[in-house]
Symmetry: C2
Subunit: 240 residues, 2 copies
C-alpha cells in the first residue's frame, strides 16, 4: 500500500503561528515532487478567508495551494490533485460537506490506490481515520454517518488533553469520554494526540513525530504512553 | 400548556454529593403529589449501578424510583409514570437509546399533553430541548437524528464553561463552538447553563434557579448574561 499520511493534532501551537510548529515536517512530507496542494476548507464557515490563511502559509513553504471550494467540480479537483490538505475546524461540518460533495470515496481512492500524500490537521486528522466518533467538536450539523475516509483502521483524538488536577469543573475529562467510547462493543483503538504531536504514516509504517507524547487507549486494555519517535505501525493492522 | 420541567446543568457540583446542590429544588418540583419517579439511566453504560445511585438519592428525598431499564415494556412504563427523571452521561448514547426504545414521542406526549413533571440533568437536560446539537459529549454512537424530545424550542449547553485566560490549550472554547453552531442557518437560541444553575419551566413561564449566571447566545445578536431569578419566558416563544 502506497499510503502517505501526515496527521497533525493541532493547526496552531500556543505562542506560534498557523502550522508553524509542523512546517518542517510539512516540507519533508510533500517534498519536491508535489508542486500544488489541494486544500479542503469545509471545516470553517468562511472558506475564502480560510483558504487565504492556508495559501499564504503553503506559499511560504514553496507550494501552490488550490482550494476545492473554488473548483467548478470538486470531485474532478480531487482526481487531479498531487496532494491533499484538510484543515481543522468543526469535524461534523467537515464530514457532512465531504459527503455532500461526494469526496469521501474519491479521496480514499486517491490516497490508498494512487498514493498521493494526505495531510490533515485537527478535524482534518479526525476525518482521515476510521470514523469521527472521537472528535471533541460540537455536533452543529448532522452528517449522514460518522464513518470517515478510513485511511487508517483506528481513531484519533486530536488536541488530547490531560485532566487538570486543579479543575472544579465536573464535566467528563477527555480520558473519561474515550473510556465511554470503549464501553461500546467493537470499538477500535484511540490514539490521543496531544497538541504538538503528529502521526506520520508511510505504507504500513507509522511513527510519532513532534514534541509531545501520545496516549493510546485500547478497549479492555491498559492505556499506554508513547514518546516522539515511537514506532506505532502495529496500529495499522486492521483489528479493534 | 401544562409543561413542568426542571432542567439542571450538572448532576454533581464540585465538593458536593450526587444531586446535592439541587435537592431542595427537586423536592419543590416533584412536590407531594408525585410518589414514584421513573428514571432513565440510558446515558451511562452500567444501568444497574446508575439506578442504585439515583434510587438512593431519590429515596432520601422521599420518592420511590423505578428505572425504565427494569421495566418489561419501557413505553408502558412511560405511559404510567407520575414523573420522569433522565440522568446525565453521554448524550449521544442516551438519545439513541431513547429512539431505540420508542420513548421520544411517548415522553413528549406525557410531558406536554398530560403535564407530568420532567427533570433532566446534564445529558437529560440536553435531550429535553429541541436537539442535541449543543452537547459537549463525544459522539460515541450514531443516533438516528439529533432532534430530541423538544419540550422547549431552544438549545441548552449544560456545564457551560467560561474560557480560561491562562490556558495554553488551542482547542475551541465553549463560546467559539456555540458561535460555530450559529453560523449555520436557522439555528435557535442556546442557553449556556453554568454548573450550579438550572432552568425551571412551568407552562409558558421559565426562570433561572441556582447559584450561577446563565449565558444566552442568539444567532446574529449579542450574547447576554442572566442572574439567578431571571425570567426567561421569552425563550419559550417558538422562533429562532
Amino acid at each position: 500500500m502506497n499510503r502517505k499520511l501526515l496527521l497533525v493534532s493541532n493547526s496552531t501551537l500556543h505562542g506560534g503561528g498557523y502550522l508553524q510548529h509542523c512546517q518542517e515536517h510539512i516540507q519533508h512530507f510533500f517534498g519536491q515532487e508535489v508542486k500544488r496542494v489541494l486544500f479542503v476548507p469545509y471545516a470553517l464557515h468562511d472558506r475564502d478567508a480560510y483558504t487565504k490563511t492556508a495559501r499564504d502559509k503553503f506559499q511560504s513553504l514553496g507550494y501552490e495551494l488550490d482550494s476545492v471550494h473554488e473548483a467548478a467540480n470538486p470531485v474532478e479537483a480531487v482526481r487531479k490533485a498531487e496532494g491533499i490538505f484538510i484543515g481543522g475546524g468543526n469535524t461534523f461540518r467537515l464530514l457532512k460537506a465531504l459527503y455532500d460533495n461526494d469526496l469521501v470515496t474519491e479521496i480514499r481512492k486517491r490516497v490508498l490506490q494512487d498514493g498521493i500524500p494526505y495531510m490533515g490537521s485537527s478535524a482534518g486528522t479526525n476525518v482521515a481515520t476510521i470514523s469521527i466518533n472521537t472528535t471533541n467538536d460540537m455536533p452543529i450539523v448532522y452528517p449522514p454517518t460518522l464513518t470517515a475516509i478510513s485511511l487508517v483502521p483506528f481513531n484519533i483524538n486530536p488536541h488530547y488533553l490531560d485532566p487538570d488536577p486543579n479543575s472544579r469543573h465536573m464535566g467528563e475529562t477527555r480520558e473519561q469520554r474515550i473510556v465511554q467510547y470503549h464501553e461500546e462493543l467493537g470499538t477500535p483503538c484511540v490514539l490521543g494526540l496531544r497538541e504538538g504531536s503528529m502521526l506520520l504514516v508511510e505504507g504500513n509504517k507509522a511513527s510519532l513525530l513532534g514534541t509531545t507524547n501520545a496516549r493510546l487507549f485500547q478497549r479492555g486494555k491498559q492505556t499506554t504512553e508513547f514518546e516522539p519517535g515511537s514506532d506505532l505501525s502495529f496500529l495499522l493492522i486492521d483489528a479493534p
